[in-house]
């Protein structure tokens, strides 16, 4: 079976959303590895417990770019708690399906998001402890 993408995937691939670097993000995380052919860098800016801005860069296939795009669209403006609940299944569904062999891209994107939120929360805790003046 060759790889057969949904129209939605190809749309997002050709016109990716929220793609690019971000100045002064609260967190930057990377997920995946170029050696494996799939890698995502995610930038996050949080304000009042909500994702104010989210961007990403992608080294990877069409699915990688499309999942990054749709995920960032889905969570932008959401609270961290809401964002945490987004799963790879949600991502795949929003894209009107992913070829089975490409599900790992949805996993990668979800992982990147969860890692970013985690790092953000860790840093906040640290800052909270650091700042008591």
């Amino acid at each position: 079976m060759p790889i057969k993408y949904s129209k939605k995937v190809l749309e997002y691939f050709m016109n990716p959303k929220n793609i690019g670097e971000m100045e002064n993000p609260d967190v930057v995380v990377e997920e995946g590895n170029p050696v494996c052919g799939d890698m995502l860098r995610m930038y996050l800016k949080v304000r009042d417990g909500r994702i104010e801005d989210i961007k990403f860069l992608s080294f990877g296939c069409a699915a990688n770019i499309a999942t990054g795009s749709i995920l960032t669209e889905m969570v932008k403006g959401k609270t961290l708690e809401e964002a945490k609940k987004v799963t790879m299944k949600d991502i795949a569904e929003k894209l009107e399906g992913l070829p089975p062999i490409k599900m790992h891209c949805a996993i990668l994107a979800a992982k990147a998001l969860h890692k970013a939120i985690e790092e953000y929360e860790k840093s906040k805790v640290k800052n909270n402890y650091a700042k008591p003046k």
Binding site: P34, V35, C36, G37, D38, M39, F59, G60, C61, A62
Partner: protein
């Protein structure tokens, strides 16, 4: 509406107009069964004979040394397993290379499971085998050596003639198989001169129809059929023959050989134009395989660093440009091309490889179009990539 620039000719080719015309009468006029006694049967039979003659002539063989199969994959399977099983009593050692087409590799893997001992020749950075390594690996148990003529991904022309010479000098008979799918009609093949015992050809790579391949089997070769059913009119390969397909294959070969020099130099010119254009206009690219006369006239294969090949392929597709990639993302096993791995390309660079393969139908204007589109696509993808020269140096395997 949209233009199409087809540069995926190593995978398969358009069927030539003249080929289709040659096939049609065998579908609606001389459509009899080649084993039937009546006129329509005899005409079908003679078409097979005539086609075998045409193909045989192009490789300096005899017509009854040609067996038509359903594809090159079947012909490779037939050659390797057919000879392995028929000669097992003499030995169980087979030598091939690390860069064969998967249709060979799957077979040698299967034979390894069945107790055959398989050695895979190393290749250098340009993809060339080392004939000395081959010589050192030969034992009294060796029954078969299989080396492709031209690599299907990076266009390396292997030293087939030297291999044939080496094997000719051995006292014991070691069969020599060559997968010539990427070289046929592009680089001359002479089974006598090269001392080849079995040669795989495929129609759909030379502007013939899909559904036909051929195996040249030197007279006297000990080989066993791998399909076991009822023989129609061909020896060693059962089943009703694909008569129109066979006729089309022969026609395709005839056309290609009638204009051999013209077509090949046309492709070679486009190849060099494309290579130069890419190297001149896009930074951080890496040509895979050798340059000049040691490279197939139709093959161009580059890695574009920091980006991934499936994305490039799909972007080019939006511009009507059809190419292939050696990226893991485009493979069923999520592994980068084993050929690129064998020549020492690191995986993160292999993922960014694109094969542009030419045919006689491509034009200079098409190459110009590609050279116009490609830099934009590469730039766009690089602009959204997290990788840079520095990041790549840091990241490990």
């Amino acid at each position: 509406m949209k233009r199409t620039v087809y540069l995926d000719n190593e995978r398969t080719t358009i069927v030539a107009k003249e080929v289709i015309e040659a096939m049609l009468p065998y579908m609606n006029e001389y459509y009899g069964h080649p084993a039937s006694l009546h006129m329509l049967g005899q005409q079908a039979y003679e078409a097979i004979e005539q086609s075998a003659e045409t193909i045989a002539e192009t490789i300096n063989a005899k017509p009854d040394e040609i067996v038509f199969t359903s594809c090159g994959t079947e012909a490779n399977d037939f050659a390797i397993r057919g000879v392995a099983y028929a000669n097992r009593s003499r030995g169980n050692h087979i030598i091939t290379t690390k860069i064969e087409h998967p249709s060979i590799m799957r077979i040698t893997e299967e034979l390894a499971k069945q107790g055959f001992k398989i050695d895979y020749l190393e290749v250098d950075k340009e993809g060339f085998i080392n004939v000395e390594q081959l010589e050192n690996l030969l034992t009294d148990e060796t029954i078969l050596v299989s080396v492709m003529h031209v690599n299907h991904e990076i266009g390396t022309i292997e030293p087939i003639k030297e291999v044939g010479k080496l094997l000719r000098e051995r006292k014991q008979k070691i069969y020599f198989h060559v997968d010539a799918q990427s070289s046929y009609t592009k680089i001359p093949i002479d089974v006598q001169d090269f001392n080849i015992d079995l040669l795989t050809l495929s129609s759909h790579k030379i502007h013939g129809p899909k559904g036909v391949g051929a195996l040249y089997i030197r007279q006297g070769t000990k080989i066993e059929p791998i399909l076991k059913g009822y023989i129609s009119v061909q020896r060693l390969r059962p089943g009703t023959e694909n008569v129109p397909g066979i006729v089309g294959f022969a026609k395709a070969a005839e056309i290609a050989f009638a204009n051999f020099e013209k077509y090949v130099s046309h492709m070679r010119n486009l190849r060099d134009k494309l290579i130069k254009g890419i190297e001149d206009n896009i930074p951080e690219v890496l040509l895979h395989g050798p340059r000049g006369d040691k490279r197939s006239p139709s093959n161009v294969n580059f890695s574009f660093k920091y980006i991934e090949g499936e994305s490039i392929t799909l972007h080019l597709n939006m511009y009507g440009i059809c190419v292939s990639t050696g990226s893991a993302c485009a493979s069923r096993k999520l592994e980068p091309s084993h050929v690129l791995t064998a020549i020492g390309v690191p995986p993160e660079i292999a993922h960014g490889s694109i094969m542009f393969s030419l045919s006689r139908y491509n034009t200079e204007e098409e190459i110009n179009y590609v050279l116009d589109v490609l830099p934009k696509v590469i730039e766009k993808l690089r602009s959204i990539s997290p990788l840079t020269p520095e990041s790549l140096k840091k990241s490990g395997g």
